[in-house]
């Protein structure tokens, strides 16, 4: 009985949650006029919409731009944040706790407020250290390379990491960083997976800072492209929906491939 209840509950919410996504899928196959009327059944315009999109925009290049930024951002960010989260939790000290709480402050100011100072900063890099100046991949990644959000996340999860594993590691003669790499990282796979998903999605969908720092059309990322397409007086909604779908696919794929790490059961334990 309880099982049926669970399935019903989940089923109901699933339909609710999936509905807008369904709308996107269906809209991809409809012509613009029907999309505006909120048509919910598919039609046969998918190929036409896709061809229009390919003909008007260089989707491949936009894709590569977004991919390059997001992959680099994800890899570096979670590595850095996990090191810090581990450090703050395992090697606790009053001084470090103070620093930790100070770092949290950095999450609290809306990004828009720091945009101009950041822009000025990177503007000055453009003349002194060009490869991290404005309009570079590095400039997009650096401001959020290390975030209190991820550090906070890793720290909280590290609280659930058994200290006895560290002891065991030391007894086995591993160095501190060795313990981190050989014991902590494999044990915390689910945490890394979650962090990777979140970071990738945030980076992939990030809009405001790339808008400001990227300057040439060649470097455009997906959110900027979609914003431009939607801004026309008479937008081609069919084309827009296909573009959105193409933009959404990678995040779905990343999620699919990483979610298997949320498998029930213990991963690594003290024997």
């Amino acid at each position: 009985m309880k099982k049926v209840g669970s399935y019903l509950f989940l089923g109901f919410f699933t339909i609710l949650f999936a509905f807008p996504f369904y709308f996107m899928l269906v809209s991809m196959t409809n012509p613009t006029v029907e999309i505006m009327q909120g048509k919910l059944t598919p039609s046969t315009h998918l190929l036409e919409n896709w061809r229009n999109l390919r003909a008007t925009y260089d989707i491949g290049r936009v894709f590569m731009n977004s991919a390059r930024i997001s992959v680099l951002q994800t890899l570096f960010s979670i590595t850095i944040a996990s090191l810090a989260g581990y450090g703050f939790e395992v090697y606790q000290s009053r001084a470090k706790n103070v620093i930790f709480h100070v770092l949290l402050l950095s999450m609290m100011l809306p990004f828009a407020a720091t945009m101009i100072p950041l822009f000025r900063m990177f503007g000055s890099f453009s003349t002194t250290i060009p490869f991290i100046g404005l309009d570079t991949v590095a400039s997009v990644i650096l401001p959020t390379l290390s975030t209190a959000f991820l550090i906070f996340f890793f720290r909280q999860n590290t609280k659930m990491f058994s200290r006895s594993l560290i002891e065991a590691g030391r007894i086995d003669g591993l160095s501190e960083i060795g313990i981190f790499i050989r014991i902590y990282m494999p044990t915390m796979k689910t945490t890394y997976a979650a962090a990777a998903i979140i970071t990738f999605i945030n980076s992939w969908n990030s809009y405001l800072w790339p808008l400001i720092t990227l300057q040439t059309q060649e470097k455009q990322t997906f959110p900027l492209l979609i914003s431009a397409i939607g801004a026309a007086n008479n937008p081609d909604y069919g084309l827009l929906m296909v573009a959105i779908m193409v933009a959404t696919l990678p995040t779905m794929i990343v999620f699919f491939s990483l979610q298997k790490y949320f498998v029930a059961g213990m991963l690594g334990s003290v024997k």
């Binding site: 613009t32 006029v33 505006m36 009327q37 909120g38 008007t56 390059r68 680099l72 890899l75 570096f76 590595t79 090191l83 945009m115 101009i116 822009f119 000025r120 503007g123 453009s126 060009p130 490869f131 991290i132 100046g133 404005l134 309009d135 570079t136 991949v137 590095a138 990644i141 960083i177 060795g178 981190f180 790499i181 405001l208 808008l211 400001i212 300057q215 040439t216 059309q217 060649e218 470097k219 900027l224 914003s227 431009a228 397409i229 939607g230 801004a231 026309a232 007086n233 008479n234 937008p235 909604y237």
Partner: protein, 431 residues
Amino acid sequence: MKKVSLFLVIFVLGVLAGCGSESSTSGSDAKETSEGQEITIWAWDPKFNIAAFDLAESYYQEDHPDFSINVTEISQQDSVQKMNTIFSSGGTQGLPNIVLIEDFRIRNFLEVFPEYFVPLTDYINVEDFMDYKIEVSSVDGEQYGMPFDSGVAGVYLRKSIIEESGLAITDFHDISWQTFNTLGMQVKEATGKPLFSIDMNDLAHLRMMMHSSGYWYTTEDGETPFIDGNPSLKQGFEDLKMMLDSGVITTHNGWDQLLAGFNSGDVAGVLQGNWITPSVKSEDSHSGDWVVVPVPKQENIDTSVHATNLGGSSIYVLDIDGKEEALHYISEVFGKNIAFYEELVQTVGAIGSYIPAAEGEAYKATDPFFDNQPIYQDFVTWATEIPSVNFGKNTYALEDIMNPVFLDYVNGADLAEGLKNAQAIAENQLN
């Protein structure tokens, strides 16, 4: 420790790798050729604005074959964000040579960051252009903007629906909003359809009404809030509420819903700037059934005319490398080329603000979609009557203050009090 420094090395390498794969270097986009430069332009809408720039490029290339433009498609909102950020940081890196800016916004920039804009005074003959477009971008006698599309507005109506209600299109010519409301009620009664829809989050229609009477949210100086005691504003509020209450107009939420309304036939018409024409034409089954009539005027306001404007933008040249080339491109094509404007209206449907071109054959063409009405000529005729208004630099701020007042009024609050409050808030907030 060793591993930490290893990470450091990987980090730096990664950054280098990330940057090394760039195909272009950062810095100015303008590429020098032996004769001219490539000019960068920021504009939105590939079928309208960008198409115009491309068309202009081909005209300019007849005499300047080495010239080329590089248009970045970017929404107005995004380009305003970028410009504000760059201007406020005091630098010029990342700015385009030419930028398209909506007329409502331009004074923000001209009054706060004038040093970034190149005056076009010597490159444009202001008498050739519609008055109200010229005034928008002139400061202290210097002309900064090259007027582009005229946002002259008209009431678009579905002929069959009007006639089904026992009315004739001519009934809608040269009337006041009061009469419009009466006619609209007849249409609503016969067919159940409203005449047009408005977005409650946006006072575009109020702006149109005020503009048709030569009024605005501010007095002529563009600075002093003129809310309490503004007869045109009050009349506009009252007329809109009257039409909402009688069902003659309805509401929509968002651009796509506006388009869906009249394209599906649920709404019998639309009142917007003429740039809505391509959207109206996108529904093939309506061909031949649309007409455009002049906007009604405000009763009780002497200065009110049957002409108004909504939106529209002008072209600006920024003070960076390549400005001479950009100036020539703009002034020779947009400034004087009649053939260009004729082709523009024929292929893109954009009605320019260049008066000499409007006398040409292209503008006299009849449009079968609009029951063979010469809509371009009609629009141009109306455009010449539009009063000049100083939008000032606080239009959007004032509108955001007025929006809740309008809503409260529609929901039954006292108008006089609402206006008094708004005047106080406006004076308080705007320096």
